[in-house]
């Protein structure tokens, strides 16, 4: 059963009027759907906020909850129930989409704990290309500089209809290298997950800072790999 973990207040079921102590999505007494409550993505799945997640179990739970909550199950129900089912299912889908993906899950959890993540400054006054990922990591400055030169050369060559195979090869090598770095970042992130999940407050704080930096680096690297792929493929 869905529940919100914090601040449970007794509420009365709109349908059977029996009070229940936990803020559940379904009345424990008559099983009717209840108005949506504020909750986070972890609480949707009755999970503690953790970074190591059993994704297989998550999928299973997603399917189980979908069967009960989906608007298809309420096509002929009252207007209120239809509305709640829609809101609850949207929350469920958003939660599943975020938690099943390791990077999104990490970003989300860190954000819940007050971290500022590059992509999080969403809104009207934002340019997609200026999302905090434009600064190269210090240790990679030189290589990135070289790579950008080669990318520019490659684009010029392509525009001129030429095929420079040695340039192509060196770009492919660079790509492999940066993909390797990307994998390394993922490995480090994984280590920090456990540090966060199992550590005390000080250890969590430390892991959090490391993960924020790793996510920045990761975003930079994956943009770079994508750019190389686009230039090679275009």
């Amino acid at each position: 059963m869905l529940k919100v973990l914090e601040s449970a207040v007794p509420v009365e079921c709109w349908s059977c009027s029996v009070a229940h102590n936990e803020l559940t999505l379904f009345c424990p007494h008559c099983s009717k759907i209840q108005p949506p409550q504020e909750g986070n993505y972890f609480s949707v799945f009755s999970l503690q906020p953790r970074l190591n997640i059993d994704v297989e179990a998550l999928e299973h739970e997603f399917h189980r909850l979908s069967r009960r909550l989906h608007p298809d199950r309420f096509a002929r129900a009252s207007e209120n129930e239809q509305e709640w089912s829609l809101a609850d299912t949207a929350l469920l889908n958003d939660a599943y989409r975020t938690l099943k993906d390791p990077i999104r899950r990490t970003e989300y959890l860190l954000k819940l704990h007050g971290a500022e993540i590059g992509e999080e400054h969403a809104g009207k006054n934002r340019r997609p290309n200026e999302m905090g990922a434009s600064r190269a990591p210090a240790d990679l400055l030189e290589e990135v500089f070289d790579l950008n030169m080669q990318l520019e050369e490659m684009r010029l060559a392509k525009a001129g209809g030429e095929e420079d195979s040695s340039l192509k090869q060196s770009l492919t090598e660079a790509k492999t290298k940066f993909e390797g770095l990307l994998n390394a970042v993922d490995g480090e992130l994984h280590t920090q997950w456990s540090a966060w999940d199992e550590g005390d407050e000080a250890a969590r704080h430390d892991a959090q800072n490391k993960m924020v930096a790793l996510l920045d680096r990761r975003r930079y690297l994956s943009n770079l790999v994508r750019e190389v792929n686009e230039t090679l493929g275009a």
């Binding site: 989409r97 809104g123 009207k124």
Partner: protein, 646 residues
């Protein structure tokens, strides 16, 4: 609470169907003529002499009007649904109908049909109403709720327009279902398999590819892609263009501006295309206006080469869909073919190569009729929504939004807030603030698409957040919630968080109708009066009988009559006399049976009449007026389907 049956409707570019669950099996409901397919053609009968509204006919009977009175008939409306005036004008260069003269930029486009004007959803509503009536005839009870299918790649405006059409037809649309997903449901029903499947859906006008994961009765779409302007029409256009070019260069006859001639060539092209799906070669033979004949033998190899560029356009979307779903061809357990165009051997070959089927000892699934499978799936989904059915209680469809949703940001760029292929319903919450002290409203532009610039995406709506309490710039915090519902349609709500005030939101959809407009376009109200439902069915049965009797009355004057043999003529007269007799009574069923019998008896005669009309048309005798009525921009007007010519 609403009750009664929920039907599944496939509202197609070329044909439409209605189906329902008969126990554990979905079946298509035939129309009065016994045919499962209702051509998506709407025609206006001649203006009545008393000055009332002319009758609207739909389907096979309307098809005749395409040749006889093309200015009063319309088809392929699905290609125009949910599009703006400019886009429609562009598209209409290929159609023999046109937008009403008094429509201005920013207004809802209306199509001129004879002396009347219709919005596009209204025209689709007539097709839907016909399907609704077919279902009501079949059940003998009113039908008020339906599931309607749409191409998976339809955007918000196209979906909304389809839903509006349902409402106008007197149907509560319980759900819009994506066509490939519906097909998967129809296939999955008797298989109950697990695994990953791809649905390749190439229809008359649209192409969709969807990749789904099946597990414990849950059909979870992983990704979808497509092209809402790619289908069998494009193949027909190619053949027609080549024929016209060759006729011009070899016979010196320019038929490009003769709508009825183009129509006749198109008919021959479609027939050749269909024959080439089962035979190694097809013969193309047309009599030209000057009496010459244009004859061609088209071997399948030539045909395959010809259509390769069209078919190749489906590979990009397929690859993208696989990439988005994170699967490689060898991870696909099954591939399902949907849509009439997948009967073409070259299409099957392409699918086989693309998904490495033969190489893995597999074959694409084609066992359900590709014309019917979508409607059958819609019936399954209708049964799921109706609830309380053993056959479908374990099934659930989880679909995705085909296009990313974004907001126009500084510099005209797009900030994506819901990514494509997100499971729906999906939501996103964004916060907005003011840029100037005391500012009381904020404008938001919502777009749909994958491109980086808002101008290259599809404009969905402009919202004005009003009533923000005057505060220093940057202080207000307006929370806007975007929600894509289970139909793939956007809903928006907003509130100002610092003052706790509910910000007013004025949604101005870029394309589409307001609620009031839809309300005012609901088709004749007698469709909603259930108390005299039986009476209505009787009246309809009599009307149907009268229509066919009137046509049969004139038959002996038609030249085609003499081409019938004596037995055929006797049968028609007998069926006619029988129908005249039962029409006097109140037995609705007997009248219907009599009508069906007469329709059967006159089928051959009707075909002869069609052929006659077409061959007269190509000699340019009866159709000259058709071209004159057309807009100057029309380069290749023809009554059956769009063509593209240089």
């Amino acid at each position: 609470m609403a009750d009664g049956r929920v039907v599944g409707i496939d509202l197609g570019t070329t044909n439409s169907l209605v189906a329902y669950m008969e126990g554990e099996k979905p079946v298509v409901i035939p129309g009065v003529d016994g045919s499962n397919l209702v051509p998506s053609v709407v025609a206006l009968d001649p203006m009545p002499k008393d000055g009332g509204r002319p009758t609207v006919t739909v389907g096979n009977s309307a098809r005749k009007a395409l040749i006889e009175t093309p200015e009063r008939a319309i088809y392929s409306v699905k290609r125009l649904m949910g599009r703006g005036l400019g886009e429609i004008q562009q598209e209409l260069k290929l159609f023999p109908f046109r937008i009403a003269d008094d429509v201005e930029e920013g207004e809802v486009p209306r199509i001129q049909l004879g002396e009347m004007k219709f919005t596009l959803p209204e025209i689709s509503a007539y097709v839907l109403r016909q399907l609704k009536r077919n279902a009501e005839r079949f059940f003998g009870t009113p039908v008020k709720q339906a599931v309607i299918t749409v191409p998976a790649y339809f955007n918000d405006a196209q979906r909304q327009a389809t839903k509006d059409a349902g409402r106008m037809a007197g149907l509560e649309v319980l759900r819009l279902v994506n066509e490939p997903t519906a097909a998967a449901l129809a296939y999955g029903l008797d298989r109950r398999k697990e695994g990953t499947i791809a649905v390749y859906d190439l229809g008359g006008g649209t192409f969709d590819i969807s990749i789904l994961k099946l597990r414990d009765g849950i059909f979870e779409v992983q990704s979808t892609n497509g092209d809402t302007h790619l289908g069998g029409d494009d193949i027909d256009n190619l053949l027609v263009a080549i024929a016209l070019d060759e006729i011009y260069s070899e016979n010196g006859v320019d038929l490009r501006r003769e709508p009825s001639a183009v129509q006749a060539i198109r008919k021959a092209a479609i027939e050749a295309k269909i024959r080439l799906s089962s035979e190694p070669s097809a013969h193309f033979d047309i009599e030209l206006p000057n009496g010459d004949r244009y004859q061609r033998e088209i071997p399948r190899e030539v045909f395959d080469q010809l259509i390769e560029p069209v078919l190749d356009r489906t590979t990009g979307p397929c690859r993208q869909a696989m990439q988005d779903a994170g699967v490689t061809p060898e991870q696909l357990d099954e591939v399902v073919l949907v849509g009439g165009s997948t009967r073409i051997p070259a299409v099957r070959q392409l699918v086989d190569n693309l998904f490495e089927l033969s190489a893995r000892g597999k074959k694409a699934h084609t066992d359900l009729n590709p014309d019917e499978v979508v409607a059958l799936g819609a019936a399954v989904q209708a049964d799921i929504l109706a609830g309380a059915s053993k056959a479908t209680e374990e099934l659930l469809l989880l679909d995705v939004t085909p296009l990313s949703l974004g907001i126009e940001a500084l510099g005209g760029t797009v900030a994506k807030i819901i990514q494509r292929n997100s499971t729906i319903p999906a939501s996103a919450t964004e916060h907005f603030t003011t840029g100037v002290d005391g500012q009381t409203n904020v404008a938001i532009h919502v777009v749909q698409g994958e491109r980086e610039l808002a101008a290259d995406c599809r404009s969905l709506a402009r919202f004005d957040l009003k009533g923000i309490p005057p505060m220093p710039a940057g202080l207000p915090r307006i929370e806007v919630k975007f929600l894509i519902d289970a139909d793939g349609i956007l809903q928006v709500s907003a509130r100002e968080q610092r003052s706790g005030q509910q910000a007013q939101i004025e949604v101005k959809a870029t394309y589409g109708l307001t609620d009031e407009q839809v309300e005012s376009m609901i088709l004749e109200s007698f469709d909603h009066a259930e108390e005299d439902f039986a009476k209505r069915l009787l009246i309809e049965a009599r009307n149907e009988a009268e229509t066919i009797l009137a046509a049969v009355e004139r038959a002996p004057q038609h030249p085609a009559w003499n081409q019938l043999n004596e037995q055929e003529q006797t049968n028609i007269v007998a069926a006619r006399d029988h129908l005249v007799a039962v029409k006097q009574g109140d037995d609705m069923k007997a009248i219907r049976e009599g009508t069906t019998a007469l329709d059967q008896a006159t089928r051959h005669f009707a075909e002869l009449m069609m052929e006659e009309a077409v061959s007269t048309a190509i000699r340019g005798k009866t159709m000259q007026a058709a071209g004159d009525d057309l807009d100057e921009n029309v380069t290749a007007p023809h009554p059956m389907a769009p063509a593209e010519f240089k």
